[in-house]
């Protein structure tokens, strides 16, 4: 069959999943969009998301057949506008209530934040439904059942557990939520489930947790031993600050040194272990997915994820240097143009320049992340998936379900929890 005979994926006949999108095409999408996002203050994001999804889906093949993304940017825009109106009304009511209750402003604000966090979980679940029903394979769509409200209650409970256990419960939270999502996931009439165990993940990520938590707790304990109020009072004055601080808070030098060292160790651990953590989570997650009797197994090597992050770090370093040079060059220029006079115009120009530099940094870093981490990881994940079980079942699936509304993507977007 001519369709499965391609350059990129043909070498991998036993591998049934592969990704064959070119880095260059992806870079073109990402960097062109970055400029447009900047110029439209982010409004272009609906088109950007859709372009990226189309690219990733179309170049991911299962048994030589590419996935198809059937969503459109206009749908995302519509979902966003609907969600915007809904959340605007919630905000307005909350604002009026806060004004009415003055004295309880803090409590009301907390309640509003909790309500919005809850709503963001509803949005996340609905957004997943949208993405699945816009994913077409073999002429059938994927779909998701289950109530978004039910999911958000369930998720709230599990996230509270993860928070209360300082992250130790995270693997179990993750497993429970994936079980919920996957048992509500279908390819046509073929039901999915999630078989990976939270305990397995816990054993793998516990060393990472330990490597970060130990230095972090040393930092916290050291900082807690300093009598901050007295030190702050003693801050201004002549002579050695350390001596004065030591006088009001005995052991200050020792505590601050150990806090600095352990804080640095903690940050270094996070930087070193994030790629590993990322790889473990992906391997665990992929290997837990079942569609009927078909299982997916991930053989993603952690070193590939490390390589992606390393490249990202190198690019970001160069990028930050460039931004710094630009900033240093721009400010004397303002001084020259306005000749040291302070006027409203010069203030506005300065603010706008600040914002432009900020935008370039943010959009630039996101573009770098998408090209150096997101795409290579997606590629590596796809290329290292093994399908186990009777794949002929995939050829006897019947259609079911229909396209769902993009409202969830809108809610997630308005509440800033949306992603690609």
């Amino acid at each position: 069959m001519s369709i499965s005979a391609r350059d990129d994926c043909s070498a991998s006949v036993p591998r049934r999943v592969c990704f064959n999108g070119s880095n260059r095409d992806f870079r073109r999408i990402v960097f062109r969009s970055a400029v447009l996002l900047m110029a439209t203050l982010g409004l272009y994001r609906f088109w950007y998301k859709t372009d990226v999804r189309c690219f990733l889906w179309a170049h991911t093949e299962i048994d030589g057949l590419p996935l198809e993304y059937a969503g459109t940017a206009m749908e995302l825009l519509r979902g966003f506008l609907t969600a915007f109106v809904i959340i605007l009304s919630i905000y307005s009511v909350a604002f009026i209530v806060v004004l009415n209750l003055g004295g309880y402003a803090t409590e009301m604000t907390v309640a509003a934040v909790v309500a919005l966090l809850f709503l963001s979980q509803v949005g996340t679940y609905l957004a997943r439904r949208y993405r699945l029903t816009r994913t077409v394979f073999r002429g059938l769509r994927l779909r998701q059942t289950g109530s978004a409200l039910g999911y958000s209650i369930y998720a709230a409970g599990w996230w509270i557990l993860a928070a209360l256990t300082l992250g130790l419960g995270y693997p179990f939270t993750r497993a429970a939520l994936e079980r919920f999502k996957m048992r509500n996931t279908f390819f046509g009439d073929l039901g999915a489930r999630f078989d990976a165990k939270g305990g397995w993940l816990f054993l793998r990520v516990f060393p990472i947790w330990l490597a970060v938590a130990v230095p972090a707790s040393v930092t916290i304990v050291s900082l807690a031993q300093i009598r901050w109020r007295d030190v702050l009072v003693a801050m201004p004055g002549a002579g050695s600050f350390l001596a004065r601080a030591e006088a009001v808070s005995p052991g200050f030098t020792e505590s601050i040194t150990s806090a600095a060292v352990s804080g640095a160790v903690c940050l270094a651990m996070i930087a070193l272990l994030v790629p590993w953590f990322h790889a473990i989570i992906i391997r665990w997650w992929i290997s837990g997915i079942r569609f009927g009797e078909i299982a997916t197994l991930s053989h993603l090597p952690a070193r590939n994820v490390y390589a992606a992050y390393l490249r990202f770090a190198a690019y970001v370093f160069v990028f930050v240097l460039a931004i710094a040079v630009m900033t240093i060059a721009v400010f004397p220029l303002i001084g020259l143009i306005f000749d040291g006079r302070k006027s409203q115009i010069s203030e506005i120009v300065t603010v706008l320049l600040f914002v432009t530099i900020y935008f370039i940094s943010v959009f630039g870093s996101i573009a770098l992340y998408h090209t150096t981490v997101a795409l290579p990881v997606w590629r590596n994940v796809a290329d290292t998936i093994e399908l186990v079980g009777d794949r002929s079942r995939l050829e006897r699936v019947h259609a079911a379900g229909e396209a769902s509304s993009p409202l969830g993507e809108g809610i997630a977007d308005v509440l800033n929890v949306g992603g690609l």
Partner: protein
């Protein structure tokens, strides 16, 4: 007429059909290996779907079924593209549409920024009269508690307010007399509590129903008129209800810019910029109006309306070099404005306090040194 190989999914099951397609005038006939026709698609209903570049993936518009035809043969794809330009095989149509979209998005962004920057303050102005003062009062009572706890800790055991105890009582009496005079002069009728705070900062802070005058301000003032100028300026903010106005504005701006423009990629910066720029544009107006109010009050009291400008110039002029991060507009502009509108006025014919009262007021915080 030629036949080409293709892959067909009927949209009912996932079964892959290796088919032959024949391109007839106006339609495509899809038949299986046995020569039986599986489906017939009219060009008028064709639509191209997302697929890698090497494939032409077709389906039907407005179809409940997701039937798909994957055509890898480039000749076939070309021929269909010619016969049915609507499918936009080259993507030129999509690119043109994308250009239009980008143009519209630019226009939308531009008009949004303009209308939000102008519209939200305008909406806030209209809403302010609709907010009952009692609401404002409740908010500020809550804020009062926070201000007190914020400053209390740094004051050791000394009371938060000045004018406490016998040593500070005469100063407090003089201060209260001054406030009553100013309220009368400004015809200010809203509920108000003015206190002196034991902190060496040359400033005054206003919340609805509350003015906090810092000790540093009294220390720096050389005569009652200078202090009175600052306080009547703050009375102006209260009379104009600027606190609730800026609260409404800030809430509106954060919401619209934060969510409409999205934090997907840095809406936070947009909110920040919007706040600063709107502050530059609108807080200047609020300050100027409060200055005008102060001048009117001082003129009505036959006190020196220029004293405030001198005071500002002397105290703030040294430090506030028009930083963008301060709410008050560049001091020289305000000083010039006040001097301009008071040119024809006297420099004060009646003193607001007796010399002895002023001396006592200067010592209002001296009891707890």
């Amino acid at each position: 007429m030629r036949s080409y190989p293709a892959i067909y999914f009927d949209g009912l099951t996932s079964t892959l059909h290796e088919v032959t397609i024949r391109l007839l005038p106006g339609r495509i006939v899809i038949s299986n290996a046995g020569g039986n026709s599986l489906d017939e698609w009219h060009y008028s209903r064709l639509r191209r779907f997302n697929a890698p570049a090497r494939l032409l993936r077709l389906g039907l518009r407005k179809n409940d079924r997701l039937s798909r035809l994957d055509i890898a043969d480039q000749d076939a794809a070309r021929e269909i593209g010619h016969a049915c330009p609507e499918i936009d095989r080259s993507g030129a149509g999509a690119r043109a549409e994308r250009k239009r979209t980008i143009a519209w998005t630019f226009a939308a962004t531009f008009s949004l920024v303009l209308s939000v920057m102008d519209g939200i303050p305008a909406i806030a102005d209209r809403l302010v009269p609709a907010v009952p003062p009692v609401m404002e009062q409740r908010l500020s009572n809550a804020a009062d508690g926070r201000i007190r706890s914020m400053f209390a800790g740094r004051n050791d055991d000394r009371p938060f307010e000045c004018g406490i105890g016998t040593a500070e009582a005469p100063g407090q009496a003089a201060f209260e007399k001054l406030i009553e005079k100013l309220k009368a002069g400004a015809d200010f009728k809203l509920p108000l509590k003015v206190v002196v705070i034991r902190r060496h900062v040359t400033n005054a802070v206003t919340l609805p129903g509350h003015i906090y005058v810092f000790q540093g301000l009294i220390d720096e003032a050389r005569n009652p008129d200078e202090l009175a100028g600052v306080i009547t300026h703050e009375l102006g903010h209260l009379a104009n209800r600027d606190a609730i106005r800026s609260l409404l504005q800030a809430t509106g701006l954060s919401f619209v810019f934060g969510s409409l423009l999205g934090d997907f990629v840095g809406g936070g910066a947009t909110v920040f910029a919007a706040k600063i720029v709107s502050k530059l544009a609108f807080s200047r107006r609020r300050e100027a109006e409060a200055d005008d109010y102060a001048v009117r009050a001082m003129v009505a009291l036959k006190a020196n309306p220029r004293a405030f400008a001198n005071f500002m110039e002397r105290v703030a002029g040294a430090r506030n070099r028009g930083s963008i991060f301060i709410a008050h507009p560049a001091t020289p502009d305000r000083v010039a404005h006040i001097n301009a509108i008071t040119r024809s006025y006297h420099s004060g014919v009646i003193s607001l306090l007796e010399d002895s009262e002023w001396a006592a007021l200067k010592e209002v915080c001296s009891g707890y040194r």
